[in-house]
């Protein structure tokens, strides 16, 4: 993991003190709300339905057990004893006081954490493949480039008042676990013809009101140029992005308006001016940072096939968990373990302070004191000895963190929704819980197989519903909560946006509609097709037919 040096520490400490000064100015009235709001957003502080919400960065999803314990302490001391992990690999607290925020930020700074630019019209937390460094299919660990880009983007004087927010995602593997195609900039590692690793640069992807899959602006670029290339993209966006209408201000709108070819022309012209300048990544600096991402002290071990098979045969529950939550590691004898924050009846992505402390202890015991946040609102231990898997599973069961559902129907991504968020039209969490209950048996989960269900409480799409195999969008219809369904979305390297099924359904009818959709899939699937495969083969008609019967169409017409 990256560790701050004196410059990183000074920067974060100074930002905390600057924010303290700004908060005092706000409380005394020297700064009014209109002028203060962008400043507090640039430190991750929203005003939500119930109180202030603080969003803390977990840079490219990586943190240490020390940091997790501090997050638990913040939850206990300044909040109501829990936090929420988000689709951008961050953590959110819902009951924060403005007056206490500078102290909270100081406590975070002491463990090398911050909330800088987790909101605001600037470059946000850069997210990455949560298996970075360990995945078998990885071309190169992207974390060194993530950290370099993070530093480049933080408190960048030119790009702190962009037309709108700006999000980057990075994957070092061909299998895209970071949804790069639906980010403002997505970086996907490839080997060129000479076998050298470099980035495909994808631009203008996004969700929200006008979802769009990003377009490739550059097929391949050497990693040493990635900062200057990002600067060129940002500069063109900063200068030409729309400023007249906040709903049309993202880079995806500009790329669509100009066309990717024209946009590329502008970016490449700008990039040619700066490519050999100060932003070309100094190999010594890359080496310095890369040293922090060297593999931990792995022991030399064999894969424990026979032992694990025996344990799995003896225990169906352990077998189910191994199948869905444990992933092959590139180093023999180790496994990647997903920690599900989606137990039946729980709030997706939420974790209590007590359980954060417990998970921190388990990270120390089983995963070199480190863990990840995935964009699916779950946690990951990336380096678990196979000999420890059964013990770890038992420990996670005690904590209700061993639900065998990663990537399956009850691993539902849900934004906080109208229970917490001032932007929402409808509540996401109760819907997610109801649907999750239907799929709570592991037999059912395994029968249905890979199925991503995403719930967003409004068009801002923080639940990433556009790229869910089944997407659920909350809308306000005459003061009541209705939900529109979409089918066929995907956030991986074959990204697609879901197709709208039809008019919104009232909340009470949604879980049953989902059941009928899934049952239809089970009837129609061939061989080992996933839901997404069947949908792509048979299309919308069979699904639409079961969602809408005479009762619901009458309600819509009224």
């Amino acid at each position: 993991m990256y560790r701050y040096d004196e410059f990183d520490r000074t920067l974060v400490d100074e930002r905390v003190e600057q924010f303290r000064r700004q908060v005092e100015a706000r409380l005394s009235g020297d700064l009014d709300e209109d002028r203060f709001k962008p400043l507090r957003l640039m430190n991750g502080l929203y005003l939500q339905l119930h109180a202030y919400m603080l969003r803390v960065n977990v840079p490219y999803g990586c943190m240490s057990s020390v940091q997790l314990r501090r997050l638990a302490h913040i939850a206990r001391t300044y909040d109501k004893g829990f936090g929420h992990f988000t689709t951008r690999q961050n953590i959110q607290y819902n009951w924060i006081k403005l007056e206490e925020t500078p102290d909270i930020l100081a406590e975070l700074a002491a463990v090398e954490m911050n909330a800088m630019q987790s909101s605001g019209n600037c470059v946000r937390n850069i997210t990455a493949d949560h298996y970075a460094g360990c995945a078998q299919d990885e071309i190169q660990d992207p974390r060194v480039w993530c950290e370099i880009l993070r530093q480049y983007s933080i408190l960048n004087p030119e790009f702190s008042y962009l037309p709108r927010k700006f999000k980057l995602a990075v994957t070092g593997a061909p299998r895209d676990r970071a949804a790069v195609a639906v980010h403002d900039i997505g970086l996907r590692m490839h080997l060129n013809d000479a076998g050298e690793p470099g980035f495909e640069v994808i631009v203008g992807g996004g969700q929200g009101r006008t979802p769009v899959v990003g377009k490739t602006i550059r097929e391949w670029i050497e990693p040493e140029h990635i900062v200057s290339y990002v600067e060129a993209i940002l500069r063109i966006y900063n200068m030409y992005g729309r400023r007249d209408n906040m709903y049309k201000a993202r880079i995806k709108i500009l790329v669509n308006a100009l066309g990717i070819d024209k946009y590329r022309e502008l970016v490449e012209a700008e990039w040619n001016e700066i490519r050999e300048g100060v932003l070309k990544i100094d190999p010594a600096e890359a080496e310095r940072i890369d040293a922090y991402f060297q593999p931990p002290a792995y022991e030399h071990m064999e894969n424990l096939h026979a032992e694990l098979e025996a344990l799995r045969s003896a225990d169906d529950a352990f077998d189910a968990w191994m199948r869905s939550n444990v992933v092959a590691h590139k180093v023999a004898g180790y496994s990647i373990v997903n920690i599900s924050l989606k137990a039946p009846g729980k709030i997706p992505g939420d974790l209590s302070a007590a359980k954060m402390d417990a998970v921190a202890d388990l990270a120390d015991e089983h995963s070199f004191g480190e863990l990840r946040v995935s964009h699916r609102q779950n946690l990951v231990f990336t380096d678990v000895r196979q000999g420890d898997l059964h013990t770890l599973w038992q420990q996670l069961c005690e904590l209700e963190l061993a639900t065998p559902n990663i990537g399956l129907a009850s691993d539902i991504i849900a934004c906080p929704g109208l229970d917490y968020c001032a932007l929402a039209n409808a509540r996401s969490i109760p819907i997610a819980q109801d649907i999750g209950q239907y799929f709570s048996g592991s037999l059912k989960l395994q029968q249905v197989g890979d199925l991503t269900i995403n719930v967003s409480g409004c068009m801002n799409a923080c639940g990433h519903h556009h790229v869910g195999n089944i997407g659920i969008l909350g809308v306000d219809k005459r003061g009541k909560e209705f939900f529109q369904l979409t089918l066929g979305g995907s956030s991986d390297e074959h990204a697609s946006l879901g197709d709208r099924v039809g008019p919104g359904l009232p909340q009470a009818e949604v879980p049953a509609a989902i059941e009928r959709i899934v049952d239809t899939y089970l009837e129609l699937r061939e061989a080992d097709e996933r839901f997404l495969d069947t949908y792509r083969r048979v299309g919308m008609d069979p699904f639409r037919a079961v969602v809408y019967d005479d009762d619901t169409t009458d309600k819509e017409a009224a």
Binding site: F7, P38, L162, R243, V278
Partner: protein
């Protein structure tokens, strides 16, 4: 409205702002719109008194790329502090087109944006404040280090880490005084 140039309060603006379409007086320092400059560049360039151009936030500084040697003032407008286009314009003027004259931020200019303005190359501010010099001091005190090089040519952390001194740094202007490598 107060004017601060190079950290000092200036009692009276030497430049007179000439509205779009208005006639340019024969004498005196004038700040004209880009449209006026474009229409009268030759005669304005021949003035013995200083000439400045005010760019609106939608006007790219590329229009002045070839004129930087002829101008003593370029003013960039911030119609609202949320409109960050002029930060890019400032950097281009300083770093791409080599402008060395007074670069002034006008419009919605206040304390909390001064630091970024200085970093991108502004050295003058038209600011609605009771004590603009104090505002600048507060803004400068906020940060002693930063990650990125930018229009003010001050050293960034990435350079300082590798111990690069300005004389060795190929990106630095070799004519710049190497003893001014760091600022407080």
């Amino acid at each position: 409205m107060a004017l601060v140039i190079d950290g000092k309060l200036v009692a009276a603006d030497p430049f007179v702002r000439i509205a779009a379409g208005a006639a340019v007086p024969a004498n005196g320092a004038v700040l004209v719109t880009l449209a006026t400059w474009t229409a009268q560049a030759d005669s304005l360039a021949q003035r013995s008194d200083p000439v400045g151009v005010l760019l609106g936030s939608e006007e790219s500084p590329a229009a002045l790329a070839d004129a930087v040697d002829k101008l003593q003032l370029i003013a960039l407008d911030f119609p609202t502090f949320r409109d960050g286009r002029a930060y890019s314009y400032a950097r281009l003027l300083r770093e791409r087109y080599g402008y060395t004259g007074e670069l002034r931020a006008v419009g919605d200019v206040q304390l909390e944006q001064l630091h970024y303005m200085e970093r991108t190359g502004f050295n003058a501010f038209e600011i609605d404040s009771d004590d603009p010099v104090r505002d600048l001091e507060i803004a400068n005190r906020d940060f002693s280090t930063w990650y990125q090089p930018s229009g003010d040519r001050r050293q960034a952390a990435t350079r300082l880490r590798s111990g690069v001194r300005p004389a060795q740094d190929p990106s630095q202007d070799p004519s710049q005084d190497p003893s001014q490598d760091q600022e407080a």
